[in-house]
Symmetry: C2
Subunit: 243 residues, 2 copies
């Protein structure tokens, strides 16, 4: 058992070790997607389901915003909500994700309704929203730290998808371009906050558990896509059936 | 679109039609389990994961109990909690499930910690707890109506498992015996309540959605077991790895 709190840099190393093991860059569905081995129907299922995650990100950020104690912290989290919801005349991440879904052949209204997503997607994403609502501010901030690992997965995904699918172009993947600068800005802030505020053993263990939980949220979404749309192809009752 | 509320019996028929399509008796994992085509490791994974569902049932019932308006309703729901948590000298469903898990070769402390369950199990079960906590009393009661269909699945499961697995005996499956009388008592009450109180179109649609949601909760748990332990055998990081 741990008997002394870690130094902040050791905590950072422990967080990065969790990502190295559990981040969904290691999931078979990501490999298929990136390597060009997905069918168009599988890419559609991914875009449709991932939309629900995108759509709920500002909801979870808003519930954290409502609990943050200082203007500085609230400004930081308000910026995140703006990134996803947009400002007048400048579409945010949700709108850009809809463009992606339309670009791979889905109907906007069907995507926005989220009526055909996998139950597993809904349960995993809602678990994230509830986690942020119910856990400490420190744990809620720590659960955003998967963004430490997202520039790599985004770079792989965009280059792999453009190279391997002739029906996907850079415009369709425009969602990801701003994320390459937004995500590091987000994770730099969150990492500094966590390193400063997780001082006791209990706090540090809670922070590590929060990041493991969040990796599970992302991993589970790809598990659902794999079972339903790759192998063995068991689409649950009521979920999207590709044309 | 529906323009008139259904008569109570038509509502019941619509509820039963949802079960006929979506209840997890139709899931491939149930068929494997019942037909004796599961390995001991797969039965262990099922018992381990299902424990978390069993353990959270009285938690969801307690959150409903706290919102029920009359002594009559609270007595009914208190009985359900007693069924699962037991009374002094008489073990409840949770304890009987642990016996089942031990009977198929699992360690009690490992099961009780729920530390090795699939994230998908946790997300699905927690979704049920949150649903009951956050939706109307009518929807919460309606979500229990999967018990309308459970005597059949229990009968299939018990007879099939005893016939097909020589390492499982009736004592190990003692969990299920009281459920054969408790479940109909529960569902008779809940069905009568729903038929009496779901009068408007909106209420009836909400009740039907609640039952669909609950079928998804049960189905998704078997999806997770299938992907991890049957095919393609993708056990997520940190979950139970059979010996």
């Amino acid at each position: 058992m741990t008997t002394m709190p870690m130094a902040p840099d050791a905590l950072e190393a422990a967080l990065r070790a969790i990502g190295a093991e559990r981040y969904h860059i290691h999931h078979p569905f990501h490999r298929l997607l990136h390597d060009g081995r997905c069918t168009r129907a599988q890419v559609q299922a991914w875009a449709l389901n991932r939309y629900y995650y995108q759509a709920m990100i500002p909801v979870k950020d808003a519930s954290l915003l409502a609990r943050l104690p200082t203007p500085e912290l609230r400004r930081e989290w308000r910026r995140r909500i703006e990134d996803h919801d947009g400002v007048a005349g400048k579409p945010g991440g949700i709108e850009r994700w809809i463009k992606l879904a339309e670009g791979v052949g889905l109907d906007r209204a069907m995507v926005e309704s989220a009526g055909l997503i996998l139950p597993q997607t809904r349960f995993a994403v809602d678990a994230y929203v509830h986690f942020v609502r119910e856990k400490s501010v420190l744990e809620a901030i720590a659960s955003s730290l998967t963004e430490l690992f997202s520039p790599t997965i985004i770079a792989e995904r965009v280059s792999g998808m453009i190279r391997n699918y002739d029906w996907i172009d850079e415009d369709t993947l425009a969602y990801f371009t701003p994320r390459l600068t937004q995500a590091p800005q987000d994770s730099d802030f969150a990492l500094a906050y966590v390193k400063e505020h997780a001082r006791t053993i209990d706090q540090q263990q809670a922070v590590l558990a929060a990041l493991r939980f969040k990796c599970d949220v992302l991993w589970s979404q790809l598990d659902g896509l794999y079972l339903a749309y790759v192998s063995p192809g068991m689409i649950p009752p009521g979920a999207f059936v590709p044309a």
